[in-house]
Symmetry: C2
Subunit: 170 residues, 2 copies
């Protein structure tokens, strides 16, 4: 899918039909995440690809709302921030957001349904997921991206708003 | 340009040839920024389109390194966080990063050279830019995106790294 079309038509998908996703699509989506811009090339991220239903249930326990969609999603990818890889302070949320968004756009452009499930900044959710996934305290689970087959069609929303554009000065 | 190609081949462009950029390209890029994912649909952003050379010089004064490239870039867009639009705490850096990245990918996919010039989190830079652009203290200038004609060709970097992928657990 063309880039502007992918950006403009992306919607948060919350209804899925459980069907397989090929491994090479998952690899392409991971690759996209690793191509995200990052401050001073620090790339402070690590990824967990989750297909195991037991682990998905663990995630749902930490984030009950995700029970509405995750049972119908065959594969998800968790973006984590690894403090050991940090070189520049106060940039990691930006870097991890960039990796998450690249994966979300890749998911949509490949024809799958993506959803950004927020882990950071909710402390309780972070702690539970660290415990259940064996994630060390030096690593912060940041977001979970779904890769599923959409069971809903959502038309693009017109989001252009001239009133928030300034010219040359505020 | 196809989405995965745009994500995988995007590079930071730092050399430009000064030539016009059509208004409709700038509009498409702004549109892309406004389509970025945002927490709870809060969209806490505002944009400043800068073509005025006097204002570009003001920016360079706050961020001397940008003197290497900005004199050769006809138009830039500043992404700002407006605290008055914030509904959910601790998400604004993520939201503004998403808007910045959508604009950067749109710029590259349209064949122009983009660079993410970091304003946040550097306090001194934020303060100087607030002063020179008349930005109120309730608004944080976050990043500046260049839209220029690249004067350098940079091949894609292979960024895939199997060692940072985990499966099901850490």
């Amino acid at each position: 899918m063309e880039t502007l079309e992918a950006i403009n038509t992306r919607r948060s998908i919350r209804k899925f039909i459980l069907k397989e996703i090929p491994d090479d699509a998952v690899t392409k989506i991971l690759h996209a995440g690793m191509c995200a811009p990052t401050s001073g090339n620090q790339r402070p991220w690590q990824f967990i690809v989750i297909r195991d239903r037991v682990m998905i249930d663990q995630f749902i326990e930490a984030y009950p709302y995700s029970k509405k969609m995750l049972p119908d999603v065959p594969v998800t990818i968790m973006v984590c921030f690894d403090r050991n890889l940090e070189k520049y302070e106060k940039r990691w949320q930006i870097d991890c957001a960039n990796a998450t968004l690249c994966m979300l756009l890749a998911t949509h452009s490949l024809g799958y349904g993506g959803l950004w499930l927020e882990i950071y900044p909710i402390e309780e959710r972070i702690n539970k997921i660290q415990d259940s996934f064996g994630i060390p305290k030096s690593v912060v689970p940041f977001a979970l991206v779904t890769i599923g087959h959409a069971a809903e069609e959502k038309p693009p929303i017109e989001r252009f708003d001239q009133s928030i554009i300034h010219y040359d000065k505020w």
